[in-house]
Every structure is written in structure tokens, then in C-alpha cells.
């Protein structure tokens, strides 16, 4: 175990009484509860945490927050592997296991660092230039090589065993950020009675106060923040979400957030790992604070260089001194406090200020021990895997040091205001982009509004909270108490987008650490005509890494503006889009994974199918019995037996999945007349009819049966797959086209179980089961409908045939489905009744030439399918006019035909094309295509349905079915699509 050599003897918000241990790259270290992985590593003197994306340069911890570009680690093992996690956001727990990334074979000795020597060959846009020729090398050599060399962590190949969940929240006021502005805003809004949700990505409230040595109302900032947060948690109308990252704002004041519920716990058996929130708010207060900007000079990426504010946070919040010999390099007064805090913690500090001495307002606060250098910049850094020293320019002074703290100013976090498309504007006084919401749904307070004075931040928070509460209809009364805060030195920033070219090397001055983009890359982009902010981003990949350019963007825009010789306000910015920070797929999926990904629907008879050995197939959400293999039977044998049983005696199939819609009202018949191509208003009660619906463009939409149960009472079935689409279509037609029709209709798909009993013995079986209904052919002819009972249970019987046999469909309230099914099975036993699945049904409907899904592909008209005569020309109906277009009636249409192979043993493929002559190629040689092909047990060979150019007149022709993908050619004969019983006698006996 390593001792914590950089841990200060006192201070910080850590629990010094307890020690915990964790491993990094297999080495064991000590930490205290309250540490992040980053602070614990720094406490143990570990700066080097990773290798960079492109050049494999050694990189260290750079920040203390979610903006971390370098210290990305992989946590966990197996299915729990979590790559690319910022070490600055990982709370250390006992037994935490973290590993560095993008190094081989080890972090200290990385062979791929040779990329760094090849740097001249990897400029911006190198993908497009260097590796283009020869072309064939791209896939085989270049791409695999680049992918191995350049990368972040590696994903697990196993499924994640942890639990994630989703939640929704509604509030009046959403406050993002629990810093001084956010806490004040939340408290004011809550006191006025608004429902407040306060979200913050840290475990502790206070925002940057947790990392500062500042008092508010006479208390240390973090303690003051803790007190306000406790007060808020006591209020009934406030919800405080800690460890919660607001990652996106969407239209209509909808927000996405992820809460790290169990990530920080060593063992966690009951809690989800993360919880994904959808938050609906009336008002947003963006108090997300600001992120410090790096300074850009050669070697600014070496381990040991970090943000000035971060160094302060390590001292104040974690009691860690990241380096004993420190140089603070700044262009503003804020970083002076870093110099003070480091000096107070015992470090030797030199302050290097790029401004002239007269610009600084805070010299007085510096302790005497801090040496100052004004009008100087860092031009060179010594040390490779850790900083050893630096050189200043123009003076040439060399300083030995092991810590360089940089501050290029602060960038307000305005993402949430810009996600929905608003553009930021340049604020000259603070050298930053700020955002004013054009409407009144959102406002900004504190650092996010480029307010860097604590007193003003608190006042802005109060004002924002009161305004938001008012906007939500709450009464704001009384005077708000504004806490007293220490006065801070003025910010007084003087922009320094990069250390001037004359002083330092552009090729080693990094702008975007995570994607290894340097000043030289931006210069190249500008030279080659990609200087526009949006172009430069894509050309150099700046801002496109997982940190989304949080650190890099503004510096890059400033550098581009300088190169173009115009003010930054004119270059504009790139667009911020959700997600602000990476979100794990697990959190997005929540519990909707595996078998819970979507519901599975079972018919009431499902258990019978299971008990009788059914193999199931998916039909939308439904599981349907596909076939019922008996011992020793394969698919073909089972389907053949089932078909022959129906054709020779009797069988039964579960058709409960059909969509069912019930209609009532005086105009129900008229309504159906306008939906279907044929007519139903004149159909007799207790009769059924096959019906076809078109889309408005004249193509077939759906088919099914329409039955009239009473004068003003109809019942229709629609295909399983189209059930919800047809209902939506009917509602559109009624509510938009014909609201004057007095009709009501309702989906009853789930209310009824349905089964078809088919075969020459179907009547005998049903007659012995059904009471109260005469099933004789005279009393109950083809297409008759009637009501009866089976063992006292009500049933509707429809004499409808899909198989072409004598057949009945029996409907019963869903709860009785299994009982009725079993009773009919029992009654059919003496006649050898056989349960058949959807495949036998498909075989028989093909033998009968009935169209189904493959033929109703949205490109066929009723006439194409041989159903043209059903169209009633006496009325208007959906699709009527378009179906009559000359183009759809003319020659050359693909029409439904039957196919049989010339060689009796041959089979052919669905989707394969029909051609006249072999050896002729071209786009127009196809005469049509095969829609269905099944083995017909009745004929003893394969048969098929197809759509064929002018097909109806081509019976007897021999064509070729070709599938070039499979190198198959089969000779087929064109026949009538109705193979079995073309006269329809069997179903009418």
C-alpha cells in the first residue's frame, strides 16, 4: 500500500477518520471517503493517468470536474466494464478497481507512443489525405491500424448485469446547479410556494464553493451550502437530486437527466446503478456555473499541468497538494486565489501573469512568499511523463517546478439554453459567450451568466428564484435576505487565446486535449479553407470528443478569429447539442431490455399450444403456434400432416390475433361502404362478406371479413399486422372526412378468442359441440353468421373459409377461449381433429390462391390481385378515384398468378425474379417476382404465388425464377393462382 505523500495534514471535506483502499492498474492505494479517484491518485503522487487519443502522449489529471479531458479510466470488469469515465467524477469506495486506457503494453511504457514521433504525418484531415492511396489498403490496412492505435476505452462484450431505471418528475422551477446562485434561486422559489427541483452533478452541494476557501455569512462556503441544502430538503415542495447530470433540454421544457444512484457504493444489491430522469418543468434556472479555460502553450498537456481552479479544489476540498513547487500562469485575477491557497498549503509558488502589472487588481492579496512575473508567458515545458520545469518568454527565465496551474478565464455553461437552438452572444467584458433566453421560460444566474463576483451571484440567484416563482403563478412577498460573502478580487481578464507564435511551438500547443488538436492543426484548417467554426471543428475534430469541447471551444474560436483577423464575436460558435455529458446506454435503456424490451402477447389458448408441443413464431407482439411437431417429426413432416388432416378430415387453428373492430350506429353501414371497395349497407343481418380496403392512392391497404350482427351493428376483422393501423385510419376517416356519420366503433381484439375449424368433417364436429344453432347447410349456408352456446358459453359462429375447405370461425369472450377450444378438440377426437399452426394455414391459403401479407405489399391494386370486380362503382370510397387512374389499369401491371416448377422436385425462392430468357441482363428484364412459395402436400410439389407483368393472360407460359444472389435458376410454369377447388364447391357443401 502506498502512503498518501501529497495529502495535507489537515483540511478538506474528506473523512480522515476512515481509510479505504482501491486499485489503479493493479496497484493498491489508500484514500479517504469523500475522495474522487482523481484526488486520491494525486494524494498518492500519481499524475500520469492515461495516454492521449492520437499521439499517445502521457497525460495527467487536468481538472476537478466533469470537463476532464485526460484522466479517463475504465472501471469494473466483465459485463460491468465502464470505459471513458472521468476520474474526477468517480467517488472512491473500498475495493474500487480502475484501469488506464489507450496504452500498450503499459501506461509508463507505451509502444504506440511512436505515433508521437510520426506526428508530422498525422495532421488535421490526415484520414482524408495520407491514407487514401492505394484505395484497397484502406479497409485492409490503414483503417484497422488506425482503429487500434487511436481510441479510448474498450467496451465489454457481455451484457451489463446491473439494474437501471427510469423516472419522471414534474416541477414548476427546475434549478440546475447547487452552487451559490442555484441554492439561492431554489430557496426563494420554494419559499414562494413553487414546486422546485434542484439538480446537481456533485455529491455535495455548493458548486465551486466546495473547492474554495471563502466564507459566506461567517461560515466556510461548503458548510453554508450544506445548511441551505438541508433547509431545502426539509421543504415539502422541493426535491434535491444530487449526483445528477442534466444532459439535455428538449422542446416544450422537457429535460433529460441521469442520476448516479449506486455508482459510488462498494456493494449494491438493492439500488439501481443509475436512474434516468425525464423532467417536465415550467421554468428553468440555469445556475450551472462556469468551466475554467486552459492556456495554450507548447507542452501544456504534460502531466502536472492543471487548471488553476482545480488545483485550488484539490487543496481546499480534498486536502491534497498536487505539487510542492508550483507555477500559476494566468491572464486574469481569479487564479491569484490559487496562488494564495497553494502558498497557504505550503507550496513554493511563482505567479506568471500574461498581463502587465498595472492590469492586476489583486497583488495585495498575494502572500509575500509568492514571486510574480508580469507580462510573461510560458514558452516551453520540461519533463515528459511529469513536469520538471519551464521557460518563460520573452524573459527566458527558467523555473523548476512540478505543478503548473493555468487559467485562461472562465467559460459560462450555457449548453442547456442553447440546446433548443438559441444562439449565444459575445460578452466583451468577461471574454465569454453568454446566452439570454429570448422567451420567459428560462433564465441564468451566477457563473453561467458570466457573473464571477460572489455577492452578485447570490443576488442574481435570489432574483432568478423570485422571478421564476412569479412566472409560475406564485405570490412572492417580503424582502429576501441576501447572505454576506467575502469580497473577491476583480476578474479583470485580458484574453490570451494562445501564447504568441513567436514565443512557443504551435505543433505542441494543445487546444483540445482529448482529440489531440493543436494550434498547428487549426492553422492548417484555416490555410486549407476550413476556417469557419463549423468547418474547423469537423476538419480537426476539435470539440468532438466525449468532453464536447467544454475546455477547447472558446480558445479555438479565439485562435481562428485571430487567424482571420476579425473579432471573435464575428466568428460565432459551433452548436451545442444534447447530450452535454456522455450517458451510458444502460441508463437510456432502463429496464426495457431482454424479455422486458417489449411486451409479448399470448392468446387465451397459449397454454394448450405449449402443452401440445407447439413451436411458436412472432407476429408483431404476438406469439402464434407455428406448427405442432410430434415425436420424430421435422418442420416439413409436421406441416404436411397438419395440412392433410384438414384437407381429409378436420383441423383447428387459433386465429385470436386477428384485429377485431365492432361498429354501431345508424350510419355504420354507410361508413363501411366508404371504407371498403365493396358494399355492406345492403348486406343482410347474420351474413358475412370478404372486404378489401384501399389507401387513398388506390393501393390495397388491408383485407378481412365484415359481418352484420344487427341492423346497426357490424363486426369486422382485419389482419393481425395491420390491426392498429386500420383503427387509426378509420378514426381519421370518421373524425376528419365524415364526422356527420352517426357511427361509433371500438377495438375489441382482446375481448374475443377466435378459432377456425376447417375440413370436410368440420360441421360434424361443431354440430356436436354447439347448441342453439342449426348448422345444416340450408339453415347456415356459406357466409352465414349466428349465435349459439358451447357448454353454456356464448359463441358467435361465422361460416368463413380461408383454407378453401368447409370451415367455421368460432368467437367467444376471451376468458372462455381455452375452454371452448378444449371442448371442440374433445368433440373432434373421434374424427381425428388436428391442431394446425400458421404455416399449415399459409400452405392452404396459397393452395386456395388467397392473398395475404406478401401480396398486399402496398404496390398492388385490387385489380392486380384479381379482386377488381369487387369494386363497387356506384359509390365513393377511400382510394376509388386513384384506383381508377389509367396508369393503374393499363398494360404492364404486375398481376397475381400461380407458379409450379417444371421439374417436380424443384423449389424456388420468395422474392426471386421472373425472367423470360436467361442470359439477358438489364434493369427491365424482370417480369415480376415470387411472393409466396410453399410445399403443397396435396400436389406433392412446391407451388407459388407471384406478381407477373400482364400475368392473367400468360397461363401456360414457361418462365425462369432467378436468384442471382444464390446462383439459382428454376424453370416454372405460369398457372391460375387457385390450385385447389377453383369452383369453391368444397366450402359450400
Amino acid at each position: 500500500m502506498s502512503r498518501q505523500s501529497n495529502r495535507l495534514p489537515e483540511g478538506g471535506l474528506i473523512d480522515r477518520a476512515r481509510s479505504i483502499s482501491f486499485t489503479f492498474d493493479g496497484r493498491e492505494f489508500d484514500a479517504h471517503p469523500g475522495d474522487t479517484l482523481a484526488s486520491a491518485l494525486l494524494a498518492n503522487g500519481v499524475h500520469l493517468t492515461g495516454r492521449s487519443f492520437k499521439y499517445h502522449r502521457p497525460r495527467g489529471i487536468y481538472s476537478a470536474g466533469p470537463e476532464e479531458p485526460n484522466a479517463l479510466v475504465t472501471l469494473g470488469k466483465g459485463g460491468r466494464t465502464e470505459p471513458n469515465t472521468p476520474a474526477t467524477m468517480v467517488e472512491v469506495y473500498d475495493g474500487l478497481d480502475a484501469r488506464s486506457q489507450n496504452r500498450w503494453p503499459s501506461l509508463k511504457f507505451d509502444l504506440l507512443a511512436v505515433n508521437s514521433l510520426l506526428k508530422p504525418f498525422f495532421p488535421a484531415g490526415f484520414y482524408y489525405k495520407t491514407f487514401m492511396w492505394p484505395r484497397s489498403f484502406w479497409y485492409r490496412l490503414y483503417e484497422p491500424m488506425i482503429r487500434r492505435a487511436a481510441g479510448l476505452g474498450t467496451l465489454a462484450n457481455e451484457s451489463d448485469p446491473d439494474r437501471y431505471e427510469k423516472a419522471h418528475a414534474h416541477c414548476d422551477v427546475l434549478v440546475v446547479g447547487a452552487g451559490p446562485a442555484g441554492l439561492m434561486a431554489a430557496r426563494e422559489a420554494a419559499r414562494a410556494g413553487a414546486k422546485v427541483l434542484l439538480a446537481d452533478d456533485q455529491p455535495l452541494p455548493g458548486g465551486h464553493l466546495t473547492g474554495e476557501n471563502i466564507d459566506i455569512d461567517g461560515k466556510p462556503g461548503a458548510a453554508w451550502a450544506g445548511g441551505i441544502a438541508d433547509e431545502l430538503k426539509e421543504m415539502e415542495n422541493v426535491r434535491v437530486l444530487t449526483r445528477t447530470c442534466l444532459y439535455g433540454r428538449y422542446d416544450g421544457m422537457t429535460f433529460g437527466a441521469v442520476e448516479r444512484v449506486g455508482d459510488h457504493l462498494a456493494s449494491n444489491s438493492t439500488l439501481p446503478r443509475q436512474r434516468s430522469w425525464i423532467i417536465q418543468a415550467k421554468h428553468l434556472i440555469n445556475a450551472a456555473g462556469a468551466i475554467e479555460r486552459p492556456l495554450v502553450f507548447a507542452g501544456n498537456d504534460r502531466p502536472g499541468v492543471m487548471l488553476a481552479g482545480a488545483a485550488r479544489a484539490y487543496v481546499n476540498r480534498y486536502g491534497v497538494l498536487p505539487g510542492r513547487n508550483a507555477v500559476v500562469f494566468t491572464n486574469n485575477d481569479d487564479a491569484y486565489r490559487t496562488a494564495c491557497d497553494l502558498a497557504a498549503a505550503g507550496a513554493n509558488v511563482t505567479l506568471v501573469d500574461s498581463r502587465s502589472a498595472d492590469k492586476s487588481r489583486s497583488r495585495a492579496i498575494l502572500p509575500e512568499s509568492v514571486e510574480t512575473q508580469f507580462g510573461q508567458c510560458i514558452s516551453k515545458v520540461k519533463g515528459r511523463s511529469h513536469v520538471r520545469g519551464l521557460t518563460l518568454a520573452p524573459s527566458g527565465i527558467e523555473i523548476a517546478c512540478n505543478l503548473i496551474c493555468v487559467s485562461g478565464g472562465w467559460t459560462p455553461s450555457i449548453h442547456l439554453l442553447s440546446h433548443i437552438g438559441h444562439r449565444p452572444e459575445w460578452h466583451e467584458a468577461t471574454s465569454s459567450f453568454v446566452m439570454r433566453e429570448p422567451g420567459d421560460e428560462a433564465c441564468t444566474a451566477g457563473g453561467a451568466a458570466a457573473t464571477f463576483d460572489l455577492g452578485r451571484t447570490l443576488r442574481e440567484g435570489v432574483a432568478a428564484g423570485r422571478a421564476a416563482a412569479k412566472a409560475c403563478g406564485c405570490r412572492v412577498s417580503g424582502k429576501a435576505g441576501i447572505p454576506k460573502a467575502d469580497a473577491l478580487p476583480d476578474y479583470a481578464i485580458e484574453p490570451l487565446w494562445r501564447v504568441p507564435a513567436a514565443m512557443t511551438k504551435a505543433q505542441e500547443s494543445f487546444v483540445d486535449f482529448q482529440n489531440d488538436v493543436t494550434v498547428a492543426d487549426l492553422e492548417l484548417a484555416q490555410r486549407e479553407g476550413f476556417g469557419h467554426a463549423e468547418h474547423a471543428k469537423r476538419y480537426t475534430t476539435l470539440g468532438m470528443a466525449t468532453d464536447q469541447g467544454k475546455l477547447a471551444n472558446v480558445n479555438a474560436l479565439g485562435i481562428l478569429a485571430d487567424l482571420q483577423g476579425r473579432p471573435i464575436a464575428e466568428t460565432g460558435t459551433t452548436t451545442f447539442r444534447p447530450l452535454t455529458s456522455p450517458v451510458a446506454f444502460g441508463a437510456i435503456a432502463g429496464q426495457e431490455r431482454g424479455s422486458a424490451y417489449r411486451p409479448v402477447r399470448h392468446s387465451a389458448m397459449h397454454s394448450w399450444h405449449e402443452n401440445n408441443g407447439a413451436v411458436f413464431t412472432q407476429a408483431g407482439l404476438w406469439l402464434r403456434a407455428y406448427y405442432y411437431p410430434r415425436e420424430g417429426e421435422d418442420f416439413s413432416a409436421a406441416v404436411k400432416r397438419e395440412v392433410l388432416a384438414v384437407r381429409s378430415s378436420v383441423g383447428m387453428v387459433d386465429v385470436s390475433t386477428l384485429g377485431k373492430i365492432e361498429l354501431k350506429g345508424p350510419d355504420a353501414g354507410t361508413f363501411l361502404d366508404r371504407l371498403y371497395i365493396n358494399s355492406f349497407s345492403k348486406m343482410k343481418v347474420n351474413r358475412a362478406r370478404y372486404g378489401v380496403m384501399l389507401r387513398e392512392d388506390g393501393m390495397v391497404f388491408d383485407d378481412g371479413t365484415v359481418s352484420r350482427l344487427g341492423d346497426e351493428h357490424y363486426f369486422i376483422t382485419v389482419t393481425t399486422a395491420n390491426a392498429s393501423g386500420v383503427m387509426q385510419h378509420m378514426e381519421f376517416c370518421h373524425q376528419v372526412h365524415w364526422p356527420e356519420l352517426d357511427v361509433q366503433f371500438c377495438t375489441v381484439s382482446e375481448a374475443w378468442s377466435a378459432m377456425a375449424v376447417a375440413g370436410p368433417n368440420a360441421r360434424d364436429v361443431l354440430a356436436s359441440a354447439v347448441e342453439g344453432l342449426d348448422l345444416s347447410n340450408d339453415a347456415f349456408p356459406f357466409m352465414a353468421v349466428g349465435e349459439g352456446t358451447i357448454r353454456g358459453v356464448p359463441v358467435w359462429v361465422f361460416r368463413i373459409s380461408f383454407s378453401g375447405e368447409l370451415a367455421y370461425e368460432v368467437y367467444t369472450p376471451a376468458g372462455f377461449g381455452l375452454g371452448v377450444w378444449q371442448t371442440i378438440m374433445e368433440a373432434g377426437k373421434p374424427l381425428g381433429i388436428t391442431a394446425y399452426g400458421t404455416e399449415a394455414m399459409t400452405v392452404m391459403r396459397t393452395e386456395k390462391g388467397h392473398v395475404a401479407g406478401p401480396e398486399l405489399d402496398g404496390r398492388t391494386t385490387a385489380a392486380d390481385l384479381g379482386l377488381g370486380r369487387m369494386m363497387s362503382l356506384k359509390k365513393d370510397f377511400i382510394g376509388r378515384w386513384m384506383a381508377g387512374r389509367s396508369g393503374l389499369e393499363g398494360a404492364g401491371r404486375l398481376q397475381l398468378v400461380g407458379l409450379k416448377p417444371v421439374g417436380k422436385s424443384e423449389t424456388f425462392r420468395m422474392g426471386a425474379h421472373l425472367v423470360n430468357d436467361l442470359g439477358v441482363t438489364g434493369v427491365d428484364v424482370s417480369q415480376g417476382h415470387v411472393t409466396t412459395c410453399v410445399y403443397s402436400p396435396v400436389y406433392g410439389h412446391y407451388i407459388g404465388l407471384a406478381v407477373l407483368k400482364n400475368g392473367r393472360g400468360r397461363s401456360g407460359e414457361t418462365l425462369h425464377v432467378v436468384s442471382p444472389l444464390h446462383n439459382e435458376v428454376v424453370e416454372v410454369e405460369v398457372v391460375d393462382p387457385v390450385f385447389v377447388d377453383p369452383g369453391g364447391e368444397k366450402m359450400r357443401v
Partner: protein, 92 residues
């Protein structure tokens, strides 16, 4: 995005199904309309950058077809009414 259904109140987008341009009316009389009118009704749709009047179905709610006026640039919804009374039905 949220749509305020006249029956159900403000609801999330996931409850709705888009139904396209509501600026078109189906020709009332089958043979009185010219081929151009039918082609316009069936095929031609506006795709404006800005104000758009469109159908939405509250498919995960009360199943009403709505006519929504939405700005395609900002997604701001300025008006939502039931299609039913607009079409001259009993609710008008």
C-alpha cells in the same frame, strides 16, 4: 415536445402519431373534382420552414385526431384543436 390535447391536457410527444399536412381537404364529390385536385390532395404536401398546420393523432390517449399549428423552426405550438368540430361534425 408536448402537445396540449383539448381533452387530455399537455401530453408528451410519445403519446401522439404524426398525421401530416392538415391543409388538404378530400374532394367532396367523386366525379366533380378534377384529376389535378385529386393529385393535389393525395400527393402534394407543403414543407414550410415556419408555420405548419398538421394532423396529430392522440393514439396513446383519447384517440382524437387533432389539428395542430406548429412552427417547424422553433417547434412552438400556437394552436391545437380537435379535427372533429373543424370538419363540421356534431362538436362544432
Amino acid at each position: 415536445m408536448r402537445i396540449t390535447c383539448p381533452w387530455c391536457g399537455p401530453r408528451p410527444l410519445s403519446e401522439f402519431t404524426y398525421g401530416g399536412d392538415a391543409g388538404k381537404t378530400r374532394p367532396k364529390k367523386l366525379d366533380k373534382a378534377s384529376p389535378d385536385e385529386w393529385a393535389d390532395y393525395v400527393y402534394l404536401r407543403e414543407n414550410p420552414a415556419g408555420r405548419h398546420v398538421e394532423y396529430w393523432h392522440h393514439s396513446g390517449g383519447c384517440r382524437s385526431w387533432l389539428v395542430v399549428t406548429r412552427d417547424t423552426l422553433s417547434h412552438e405550438i400556437s394552436k391545437t384543436v380537435l379535427a372533429y368540430p373543424l370538419a363540421g361534425g356534431a362538436g362544432s
